[in-house]
Amino acid sequence: MSQRALIAGDFLSLLDEHKLPPFRHELSGAAPVQTQATTVFAFHFADGILMAGDRRATAGNVIVTDRVDKVIEIDATSLLAIAGVPATAFEMARVLQTSFEYYRRSQLQALSLPAKVRALARLLRDNLPMTMQGIGVVVPLFAGLDHSTSPASPRVYFYDPLGAQFQAVGYAASGSGSGTIRSILSFQEQHGKPRPSQMNLSQAVQFALRLLMTASEFDSATGGVNPATETFATLKVLKSTGVETISEEQQKQFLKS
């Protein structure tokens, strides 16, 4: 990483000053077996945005764990859903968490949504050498609050592995199971009664859990949702008031209702 000038409130500048860049780009002769594969998605519903992720991590055809949280609260008004290599993705989440809070505390104001969206794009670009090697690709989703409207409006963004960012109008999905999810979301968006944007919280949670159940039918790398084995998803909601977590107990209740 090139040496950056110290910028007020910029945590990456502070890391550079201490010679502690978050991503080091030594080339590897042999690619290790990667832990990856995922289904994460987000869609607008009546109260805001629901962001969901399965909890499975795989390495090749081996299931490493079914207890990974892929939807991460970055701060009180931002969510990140990670798809790709967890080692890199979790480090990106940690950099963003520290950077956003560092800026807010040092500059006495929160970072704007465009700046947050670009901060993630910058990390993806910094990770380009790992992406090109094929051992560190991360394709995340990001949700944040746009404070230029009143009340603040939740927005969803998706990225390509090189860092290009796109705002999603109704929904976005990423990971190996995302094809299935996108098809269903597209169908529901056009023909559903209710459409995702018209769903209340209960309907949106049920819909999200069933989407993951369906994705896991077609993608072995996506962990399913099974109340009988107490296997649930990571679900978080972003409203104009901030982030809320839908607990496993709540998911169980919503599925029953």
């Binding site: 945590f11 502070l14 890391l15 502690l20 950099v95 520290t98 809070e101 560092y102 505390r105 040092s106």
Partner: protein, 245 residues
């Protein structure tokens, strides 16, 4: 050559007097460890007295705004670097003060050809219970005192600071609900600002009216470190209306 140490001692003594003179009239800041969290309070001209430092840490101070700002920034830098390179749980007030801010302040104070920091500071760390809450009273020369729970005050006059702390402690403020505790802190702030003796305090009615009159046109800065929240960041800013005051 033999007189040089005496000149240095005299210069440091003069410097101490200069700093104390400059800090006279500074608006005091107060803190109370309560059952549900830590309350920090200061009255200033904007966002200038009470600040969030890190997830469980906050700072309140009086003095020159530029000097408070330098120390605030140094503390935020150190806390976030520690959090990122280790973990948020490793950021502790004891280490932040003892190995970071205090040595820097002492070095600065004793470098007699540079301007001293004009600050008196109160730092707080929320714990799992009142007994685990930590206040650190950090002085302009780098000296500091740590205490668990209770009441902490930072004022330009040490005797008045001690009297206010004693009065608030005897009033059992740490056992009171947040709104009532804030009322007591505001009364103590008014007594300190108006140079009222804590040995012969005005009646409660006068104290209540006194602070309300005195804060008119100023900003009451209230910081709250909540003991339990779903989020890592425990700090929030409160207003008098939030406290029904």
């Amino acid at each position: 050559m033999t007189e040089e140490p005496y000149r240095w001692l005299e210069a440091v003594g003069n410097r101490r007097e200069y700093v104390r003179e400059q800090l006279k009239g500074g608006s005091p800041v107060l803190g109370a460890s309560l059952p549900d969290g830590i309350l920090l309070l200061g009255i200033g001209g904007g966002q200038s007295k009470v600040f969030e430092l890190f997830d469980r840490h906050a700072l309140a101070g009086l003095g020159h705004p530029a000097d408070i700002e330098k120390i605030r920034q140094a503390a935020i830098d150190a806390a976030h670097m520690e959090s990122f390179t280790r973990a948020p749980e490793d950021v502790s007030l004891r280490r932040l003060i003892g190995f970071g801010l205090s040595p820097q302040l002492k070095t600065n104070f004793e470098q007699i050809f540079s301007a001293p920091f004009l600050v008196e500071l109160l730092l707080a760390e929320i714990g799992s219970s009142q007994e685990h809450d930590l206040f650190s009273r950090l002085h302009f020369d780098g000296s500091f005192q740590n205490q668990h729970g209770g009441i902490a005050v930072a004022a330009s006059d040490a005797d008045a600071e001690s009297a206010a702390t004693t009065w608030l402690t005897e009033a059992n403020v740490p056992a009171k609900p947040r709104g009532q505790a804030a009322e007591f802190l505001l009364q103590a702030w008014w007594c300190l600002s108006a140079n009222k003796s804590f040995a012969a305090l005005p009646p409660e009615e006068e104290r209540r009216n006194g602070w309300r009159e005195a804060v008119r046109g100023k900003t009451v800065e209230i910081g709250w470190l909540a003991r339990t929240t779903p989020r890592l960041a425990r700090y929030q800013t409160l207003t008098l209306a939030n406290l029904d005051l």
